[in-house]
Subunit: 229 residues, 2 copies
């Protein structure tokens, strides 16, 4: 949220990151249409580059590309939502299991510090930061587990999870606190792979169970207000 738009060029990666954040952090609601020309003005980039970025976002499942119609922020169905959680359990259970065997002191420090940061954001009622850090925790585990392929996939799945929660979260349930994350770190530090796996499973199942199974549509918001200067 730092660089001004509409003035100077922006690299492809910046545009991608910017849109990714805006979607994953729920600033742009599911179903919102993303027009190429509109984006090219906002980022002062040519349409060709915007198009390239949109294709990357589509491949990550964050947006849906409809031929001759354009790009829309994805609206995952309940089946897709369940599939995302199935894939996350598959991957993350294995990653924490591996991490228990390979973690070192530096890794433990990074995990502890991260959970601490989550706790601060939570007590400060900083919802946006809490959401971002909550996802980043899972990505940190993947990074420390040293499986590039699964880490890359998990990055996509985490952002899709944000999208899913934006659509299906019941309104009274707040974002889960850092307590469960802390429990996972404890298991890793104790090198108890069996328990770490179980706690991770419970954690993900917990999140999934908080969701509502009816389809909701979310009103589209104005892009310039979010991405513009």
């Amino acid at each position: 949220m730092d660089m001004e738009a509409g003035t100077r060029p922006a690299t492809d990666q910046e545009i991608y990151q910017r849109l990714w954040s805006a979607i994953a952090e729920r600033q742009i609601g599911p179903g919102t249409r993303l027009k190429e020309e509109q984006l090219s003005e906002i980022f002062s980039a040519s349409r060709a580059r915007i198009r390239q970025v949109l294709q990357n976002l589509a491949r990550d499942g964050l947006i849906t590309l409809v031929p001759n119609r354009g790009a829309f922020v994805s609206q995952p169905s309940t089946e897709e939502a369940r599939d995302v959680f199935f894939a996350r359990r598959t991957i993350e259970e294995r990653l924490v299991e591996k991490l228990c065997a390979t973690i070192d002191a530096g890794g433990i420090d990074r995990l502890r510090n991260h959970v601490e940061a989550e706790r601060r954001a939570h007590s400060n009622r900083d919802i946006a930061a809490a959401i971002r850090l909550s996802g980043a925790f899972h990505l940190l585990i993947a990074e420390l587990a040293q499986s590039q392929i699964l880490a890359d996939l998990l990055r996509d799945l985490v952002s899709r999870t944000s999208l899913i929660m934006a659509m299906y979260r019941q309104k009274d349930v707040l974002n889960c606190g850092p307590d469960e994350h802390n429990a996972i770190v404890d298991c890793i530090v104790a090198r108890d792979a069996r328990k770490a796996l179980a706690v991770m499973h419970h954690h993900l199942a917990h999140i999934e169970n908080q969701l509502d199974l009816e389809t909701d549509r979310v009103a589209a918001r104005n892009l310039e207000d979010i991405l513009g200067a």
Copy 2:
């Protein structure tokens, strides 16, 4: 291997499929440079579309895009190779486990028929078909297990595995026969999830263990001879 090139336009998907097959089935060796103009002539498509396809292939790990240099068929390192197998074990063990719980009669038929086709190709010494069917078996399991996300990822991993085997397979070892696949099907039919998981693990470990851990470079071949008319 049916459509003639250089004459009529080809849709993006066709170009992608064509290159994907050529790389995954080892007709184009690792390290081969793919020039955009060359490909645009072969497929009689504009460079922009070629570029688009190349980016998709890069995201699937089949080719590597070097800025301002071009596209090269990937040469996975030994670490990346191990990571691919780690990811495959993670995913496929879970998929066969799930499949044991959800398989129906139609699915069993498809599995049996596929293994039979593999057996025929193997006894006919049809190496290309054997390679293709061997990969397709794993994809069939993923399809039947009904997890779109993991199936998509596995598709990429299977083609990367072909690339890895092209680079690191010891020359005397032939492609594994259909016997292990048959054993996996037996476990699924018996709905023995625990054993299915173990047999799948063994199968993938077996393939990985057949590999050599030294780096080999493979000579580049001529593109027109493979993709051209």
